[in-house]
């Protein structure tokens, strides 16, 4: 049985996707690639000096392509191109159907057969689920939700928290 009782948000682990200077303020983000507010936050984050951790929090009913997009990003990660795929997915949220994902894989020069196999694999599914479960346990209810040394900030308050953190 999966453990889903309350627990603090996990610190940075080896499996995490991390970007930014080691000495910059740490920001852990729970987001999904079909969420427009997450895309807007991503634009803001790009301009900040932060050490960013991206974790998946896809909810099917709101965003039916969020799970496939998350799995595509993880499949790209297995070919060491997570952040490139992350940026491409957020760059055009109107194109998240399978042919678009194949096209993005080609743009990044990924081995397409391997990408296709990986994004449907149990391993990748479990990886996305791991993030989702840690978010559930930490009390995440919506995207984007960010955690910093100042606490947890959901939805609109995430942007203000980032401004404060990256001052």
């Amino acid at each position: 049985m999966r453990e889903l009782r309350s627990a603090p948000v996990p610190g940075v682990a080896n499996e995490d996707h991390v970007r930014g200077p080691d000495d910059a303020p740490l920001l852990i983000e729970y987001a999904d690639f079909e969420c427009p507010f997450c895309a807007a936050l991503h634009v803001r984050l790009k301009q900040k000096r932060l050490r960013r951790v991206f974790r998946h929090f896809p909810v099917r009913t709101s965003h039916p392509r969020a799970w496939p997009a998350a799995c595509a990003a993880e499949a790209a990660a297995l070919q060491s191109r997570f952040w490139e795929m992350h940026d491409l997915l957020f760059a055009d949220q109107s194109r998240l159907e399978d042919p678009h994902l194949w096209s993005l894989a080609e743009t990044l020069g990924l081995d397409r057969d391997r990408f296709e196999e990986d994004r449907r694999s149990e391993h990748v599914l479990a990886r996305v689920r791991r993030d989702f479960e840690s978010g559930i346990r930490a009390g995440v209810v919506t995207t984007p939700t960010v955690f910093s040394s100042a606490g947890m900030f959901a939805g609109r308050s995430a942007a203000a928290a980032i401004e404060e953190l990256a001052r």
Binding site: M1, R2, L4, T61, F132, R137, A138, V141, T142
Partner: protein, 157 residues
């Protein structure tokens, strides 16, 4: 006769009150339907409203985990069954909906989960197989969405 409660949600240890809700097919769902099962009543303000949409969608993602603990979730609001069904179908969730439409809010009041402005509080009530309230929670404001983690905590309480 259970006294009306409109201030705070029913406390753990209290027996579930007598009530009648309507299932989507019009059949009654009463106190006796609670016996022998662990039931999570999710009181929510309005079908199709933004936070309620997020709430049912979020809980839907972990429905299997509730089922693995022997718990069944029901959405409870004062909307008519037709509205609840349309809401559930639009969301694509399988959480069964129970209507507190007529007399409006009677069950919400009995559970202490009725907002003075005329809609259910955002509240969660877990009733054990013995018909006794095991855990309850009322959001600080109807606009606050309680995390699914709280329900898992409540199931283990």
């Amino acid at each position: 006769m259970t006294a009306e409660r409109t201030d705070t949600v029913i406390a753990p240890g209290a027996p579930a009150p007598s009530f009648t809700l309507r299932r989507e097919d019009g059949e009654a769902f009463t106190q006796s339907d609670l016996h022998g099962h662990t039931t999570v009543l999710v009181f929510y303000p309005f079908a199709f409203s933004p936070v309620c949409t997020d709430q049912l969608g979020l809980y839907h993602e972990v429905l299997d985990d509730f089922a693995a603990r022997g718990a069944t979730l029901y959405g409870v609001s004062c909307d008519a069954s037709y509205s609840q069904k349309a809401f559930r179908e639009k969301l694509g969730v399988s959480i069964e909906q129970l209507s507190d439409f007529e007399p409006k809010g009677a069950t919400c009041r009995a559970f202490g989960a009725y907002h003075p402005a005329g809609f259910p509080q955002r509240a969660l009530v877990i009733v054990g197989p013995d018909g006794v309230v095991k855990w309850s929670y009322q959001a600080a404001s109807p606009g606050d969405l309680p995390g699914a983690n709280l329900i898992f905590d409540g199931l283990d309480a």
